[in-house]
């Protein structure tokens, strides 16, 4: 009698195991089907129904010209820049000076920077602007980035990272586009001009040789650099998406 009872209990245990395994397999299959559902296309005799896969894309424009873009299209990333070829990064300031024109201090040069949503879905956008000095391939840290005077505009539309406010000396400025940038739309400009402050020429020594005076400036030949990065993220589940992609609280920034 005892033996029979043990056998019964054992077969019950196996039965429960199989049932649970079957449930687990069903759960796994269910989750996999959920991921592939978006690729389903339905055909019928008279109608064709297609589901468009979400295609995100973003472009950076300088003075109305696309400098760099990266769009998801037909299951692949399409990258194009004004450098052409295999380059993944565009070139800025290329047309800042005319033929034979020399850079003048304190002069404002047109540098209108905007972002375009070149994808098929709406998105949130962030830009990061880096400005710094280089000479002979090395970064010059004794010159303030603020001497590269980028004129930020539309500050109601482009929200500055609160950590950057009042710190013009920072090399990086982070701006968040307030609200959704719809598919196909171009943002308001976040910068409209660039100017090199004349105080870059404040340090000099003067040498005389007969009737010739030579003024030698400490920062002669220094290069100013402006780099821009644009990030875009989907609007669906935006709070979590932005937190995941950018690591910030979008609600607290007031950009949703």
């Amino acid at each position: 009698m005892r033996r029979t009872g043990r056998k019964k209990k054992s077969s019950n245990g196996k039965y429960v195991t199989y049932v649970l395994m079957a449930l687990a397999v069903l759960l796994l299959m269910g989750s996999t089907i959920g991921s592939t559902r978006a690729a389903l296309t339905y055909y019928s005799e008279n109608y064709t129904a297609e589901i468009t896969v979400s295609q995100i894309g973003v472009s950076l424009l300088e003075n109305g010209e696309v400098v760099s873009s990266r769009d998801y299209d037909n299951s692949e990333w399409k990258v194009s820049t004004n450098q052409g070829g295999e380059s993944t990064s565009g070139v800025l300031l290329r047309s800042m000076l005319g033929e034979g024109e020399k850079l003048a201090l304190n002069k404002s040069y047109d540098e209108v920077l905007t972002v375009k949503n070149s994808g098929s879905i709406d998105e949130y956008v962030r830009v990061r602007i880096y400005r710094y000095w280089m000479k002979d391939g090395k970064k010059v840290t004794t010159l303030s980035p603020s001497l590269i005077d980028l004129h930020f505009v539309n500050e109601g539309q482009w929200v500055k990272n609160p950590d950057d406010v009042g710190t013009g000396e920072r090399e990086c400025v982070e701006l968040y586009y307030k609200g959704i940038l719809p598919s196909g739309a171009e943002s308001a400009a976040f910068v409209d001009s660039v100017r090199i402050d004349g105080s870059v020429a404040a340090e000099a020594r003067v040498e005389t040789n007969g009737s010739t005076i030579t003024t030698i400036y400490k920062y002669d030949g220094v290069e100013f650099h402006v780099d821009v990065e644009v990030d875009a993220v989907q609007t669906h589940n935006a709070q979590d998406a932005i937190r995941s992609a950018w690591g910030v609280d979008a609600s607290a920034l007031g950009i949703l």
């Binding site: 649970l20 395994m21 004004n82 565009g90 000076l97 304190n106 020429a201 030949g221 290069e223 989907q234």
Partner: protein
């Protein structure tokens, strides 16, 4: 009382199945659509000036001009004539031009931007000696200065003659004179 030996296998397999399900669920929630682009550029700031004063003398008149010897940078220039109190100087432009004008500090300012490699027009400084003055014993000294072309708030090219340079290596004079 639960028999862990008997249900251990069951518990492990169930936990593994739940774990796999959870992993698939998490992966789905993290797949946000994002994209990015970047671009960068630079320009060189060429600084530095080299100017040379040219003086000629005829009929008690100094013919003054300034050459911008820099290969790259344009500048503004000005000159000043120093002389003894008993002398007098009359200024004129030989070709009737109006490129030079008297301004602050007793300087004569050259109105146009002096382009790299260019030479200014001539400013004549006629030395007027008092009656009976010894013509062989006097000094007239001309100095010249230059300053880079900068722009004001309205976008107009201008000269900032108030700039005081910070010496960054060794002390040097900012003025150069030529004795008669």
């Amino acid at each position: 009382m639960m028999d862990w030996k008997r249900y251990g296998k069951l518990a492990v397999m169930s936990a593994a199945a739940l774990g796999m399900t959870a992993v698939l669920t998490i992966e789905g929630a993290q797949a946000y659509f994002t994209t990015y682009v970047s671009a960068g550029g630079s320009q060189v700031v060429n600084l530095g000036a080299e100017t040379e004063i040219h003086e000629g003398l005829s009929n008690m008149t100094k013919h003054i001009s300034v050459e911008n010897a820099s290969a790259v940078n344009d500048c503004f220039v000005r000159v000043k004539v120093f002389y003894g109190g008993e002398l007098a100087i009359e200024y004129a432009e030989p070709d009737g031009g109006q490129n030079w004008y008297p301004g602050d500090g007793g300087y004569w300012y050259y109105r146009p931007i002096l382009a790299a490699g260019a030479t200014s027009t001539v400013l004549d400084a006629k030395i007027v000696l008092p009656e009976g003055f010894d013509k062989d014993n006097f000094n007239v000294v001309v100095i010249q200065e230059c300053t880079p072309v900068v722009y004001d708030a309205s976008g107009n090219a201008t000269a900032d003659w108030t700039t005081v340079y910070s010496e960054y290596q060794e002390t040097g004079g900012q003025r150069e004179g030529a004795d008669n």
